[in-house]
Symmetry: C2
Subunit: 232 residues, 2 copies
């Protein structure tokens, strides 16, 4: 009885969490109940620092972060830098990496503290989920918004001084503006990427550190609020 109550409570909060996510928003309770009956949900728990998915691994399931926080780190193809963002619950992990020619994770996801996930195998998108218009429209919107965001990032290039170019570079790597970001790169390599001198890049970053915009560690630059970086 107690277990039953706990399950019911857990289910309630879980469904509540799912319904907050952009994929299920707008779905009626009745539709959502149908989905729950037909779709197989897998629950996973991970401890602190456990790796959930590796960059480049096949993405073949819808992944929902129900509780906790993930660090998502992408190593650039050139190999000289990486960029890490935090993913806070509730969230869907890379819905844009499920389809297309190369359905692979674009980042390595590591638990920060305890993490609870729910996953749904990709096959259920075909067999159940996309039978619901709300789900389809939400998914079309999710994917289109992602393309729009990336497109804007590319086209926002402008003639700028080093500080502006550094801001553009950092923002182009962000999936969201929210949360802490960590750029891992040697100062020398960062200067090369921006085609400027080590000294100039170091001057900008030191100025930012004095203004509280960045925390400089060894080969790491931590930004707690990329929105506060403003081009001059």
């Amino acid at each position: 009885m107690i277990n039953h109550r706990i399950n019911t409570y857990m289910e309630y909060t879980m469904y509540d969490t799912l319904l907050q996510l952009p994929l299920f928003q707008g779905m009626s309770k009745a539709e959502f109940s149908e989905v729950i009956e037909k779709v197989k949900f897998h629950f996973h728990k991970f401890g602190d620092r456990e790796v959930l998915f590796a960059q480049g691994a096949t993405c073949d399931k819808l992944v929902f972060l129900l509780r906790g926080r993930l660090a998502a780190e992408t190593v650039a193809p050139c190999g000289t830098f990486s960029f890490e963002e935090l993913v806070e619950w509730p969230a869907i992990v890379e819905p844009h990496s499920l389809f297309g020619k190369r359905p692979c994770y674009k980042a390595t996801y590591t638990a920060q503290g305890e993490v609870a996930l729910l996953t749904i195998d990709k096959q259920y998108i075909y067999s159940v989920l996309d039978k619901y218009e709300v789900f389809r429209m939400n998914f079309f919107n999710l994917l289109s918004n992602k393309a729009e965001q990336l497109y804007e990032s590319i086209w926002s290039i402008d003639a700028q001084e080093l500080e502006g170019r550094l801001i553009h570079f950092i923002r182009s790597l962000c999936n969201t503006r929210r949360g802490t970001k960590v750029l891992r790169v040697k100062m020398e390599e960062l200067a090369n990427l921006l085609d400027d001198t080590r000294l100039n890049v170091s001057n900008v970053l030191n100025k930012w550190q004095e203004e509280g915009l960045v925390e400089m560690r060894r080969k790491e630059f931590v930004f707690h609020d990329v929105g506060s970086l403003r081009a001059l």
Copy 2:
């Protein structure tokens, strides 16, 4: 009778063209016949240099290029440059701009010679098209591939000499590698965008011109094969 024959022939070739497009690929003839019965097709013809859609205008229909060629020009938000690509039939015009928060054309489309279009109002995606699994999967794939392409473009940044950076800049603006591209920008502005001197940028472009990689006109740089541009 003659008209009937002509219509049948035209319909046949039109359907044939549509079935070649990634949105309908894999659809059975029976399914496609059903679609034709339920969906309202609009046909349009445009003469040389007529503007079909303007950058920033609302994108509220599926647009199929059935015959001819379009010039698609995007003016960058900074206003200092534009980039033009050619769209050859058969093609779908910006399927990634139909959904999301800002469903607007990203380029201005102008007919190059005579052009035949078929359009389907967005409402038919909800009411008919996305009832077909093949269509949905094709659309998910189209959108995901677009996001993947843009993502790769952003992350392919590397420490490079001016020539490599110029190639990266041009390629990041391309939707396809095929066909002629026109970059419209003053040499001085291009140098500013790349944070280099006018002389250095001019030297690279003159070298490319000697190698037949670019055609330099007044404030215009024409690339007939961006694939042949190779970083050193």
